[in-house]
């Protein structure tokens, strides 16, 4: 049975009605209209649906929307400030880190959570974390380059 659920996404409040079995990923796309979060495998393997929940990257397909009530959710729609891209988005363009773009939102949110950490990861940690998501255009090298560059850019701001 549908029940009222309140989600905080990119500092906006969304009052939705959904069944408990509604995943956070489906709620974002279908109920909040935020289709920037993509769904690939729907069972936690590909990472396309990665969003940030209370500062940590999480698979939005492996969490029910009802579990995300009261938590601060960030999706790809919240990265840019108006017309100004987030340094990581700019770095993805500069380093040609996206080809078809399907995996990009997940990579952006995963990497954003890493490079915004108070203790940014060292290179080994970065590679370990980036191995969490799949890109089937095989663009990993450029993705790693973009994240490294954005990490530096973010700390110089």
């Amino acid at each position: 049975m549908k029940q009222p659920i309140t989600l905080q996404v990119n500092q906006n409040t969304y009052d939705i009605e959904a069944e408990p079995r509604r995943t956070l990923a489906d709620a974002l796309r279908e109920d909040c209209g935020l289709t920037g979060t993509h769904l690939g495998c729907e069972h936690g393997v590909c990472g396309a649906c990665t969003v940030i929940v209370d500062g940590d990257p999480m698979r939005a397909c492996l969490m029910f929307a009802v579990q995300a009530e009261g938590r601060a959710i960030r999706t790809v729609e919240g990265l840019a400030a108006g017309a100004t891209l987030h340094p990581l988005q700019q770095a993805f363009i500069d380093h040609h880190a996206l080809q078809c773009g399907f995996c990009t939102a997940g990579f952006l949110m995963l990497a954003t959570s890493l490079i915004e950490r108070a203790d940014p990861p060292d290179d080994q940690e970065l590679l370990d974390a980036l191995s969490s998501n799949l890109c089937r255009c095989t663009g990993y090298k450029n993705i790693v380059n973009a994240v490294r560059a954005a990490s530096v850019a973010l700390r110089q701001r």
């Binding site: 729907e42 069972h43 936690g44 990257p57 999480m58 492996l62 029910f64 579990q67 370990d128 191995s131």
Partner: protein, 292 residues
């Protein structure tokens, strides 16, 4: 696929959770903590719980502390906490080594240590740890509390002694002696994927000889287990590469791996040999982390 419909319960105290669980246990009720294994299984409709009891909102289940001679890990402690050593010495290092092999980074942010044990996947690193180091699992229900030793806890592939109305509230791992060494090694074809074989070893190094040797192997049989033949090969001996190799070979002969087209039994035996040898070598390399 989408999960079947279920009723969601979000108790705020352990007593409330146990009362709810007692009520919904006969109605296919399940506990959800991290949900990183349960939710995919629900998405594929391999499991169809009628009720989910979410324990994430219960204060005081994320405890992680040393009590007397045990490390106590509460039900809501996430894998990611072990990215940094949580205790001094070899156990802290071993937990950090092992955590790096548990699924992927975002999964480790949400998935829980105790959830892995309750799930009892044959390829679970934490199940191997519990079996090899002789952990105790504490389960609670409205009927009371039980302490279950690892060898009685794991009963088969994804099968444990936890009853439907019981909640695994914490795991207690015996702290190793000051002279102890611990080493871990795992092989999987892709980073973060399920292991094809893994080994965890522990021994006390006394006057240059190995005592109280424990050799555990996981991801090869229905449950992780200690390999007595390998332990006997090492017990009382000096830690030499030849002895490590002999123990690794003994472990490879002692296991009974399944024979699958993608992973033939003979291949898995070779992996066991490599993992046990490397785990022993890792145990001997002495650099220990400093606690922050």
């Amino acid at each position: 696929m989408k999960p079947v419909a279920f009723e969601y319960h979000s108790p705020h105290s352990l007593d409330e959770a146990l009362a709810t669980l007692a009520r919904v246990a006969p109605l296919e009720g399940r506990v959800i903590a991290g949900g990183q294994s349960l939710v995919p299984a629900m998405a594929f409709r391999l499991v169809r719980p009628g009720h989910l009891v979410d324990i994430n909102g219960i204060a005081g289940l994320d405890h992680l502390r040393v009590e007397a001679d045990e490390l106590v890990i509460g039900a809501c402690v996430r894998h990611a906490i072990f990215h940094r050593p949580v205790v001094a010495g070899v156990l802290g290092r071993a937990l950090t080594d092992i955590a790096a092999h548990v699924a992927h980074y975002p999964i480790r942010m949400r998935g829980t240590f105790c959830g892995s044990l309750a799930q009892a996947d044959p390829a679970s690193e934490w199940c191997l740890l519990a079996m090899t180091l002789g952990a105790r699992m504490i389960v609670r229900s409205v009927r009371g509390e039980r302490s279950i030793p690892a060898h009685a806890f794991f009963q088969g592939v994804m099968s444990t002694d936890i009853q439907p109305d019981e909640l695994l509230t914490e795991v207690r791992i015996p702290l190793p002696h000051a002279q102890a060494r611990i080493g871990f090694d795992e092989f999987s074809r892709r980073r973060g994927d399920f292991a094809l074989a893994m080994a965890l070893v522990q021994f006390d190094l006394l006057d240059g000889r190995m005592k109280a040797v424990r050799v555990g192997v996981g991801a090869v049989e229905a449950t992780a287990r200690r390999i007595e033949a390998a332990e006997q090969t090492l017990e009382g001996g000096m830690p030499t590469m030849d002895r490590f190799q002999a123990a690794a070979r003994a472990a490879a002969q002692a296991v009974d791996p399944s024979d699958q087209p993608q992973v033939p039994a003979v291949y898995r035996r070779e992996l066991v040999e490599s993992c046990v040898r490397r785990a022993l070598e890792r145990a001997l390399s002495a650099t220990l982390p400093k606690l922050p």
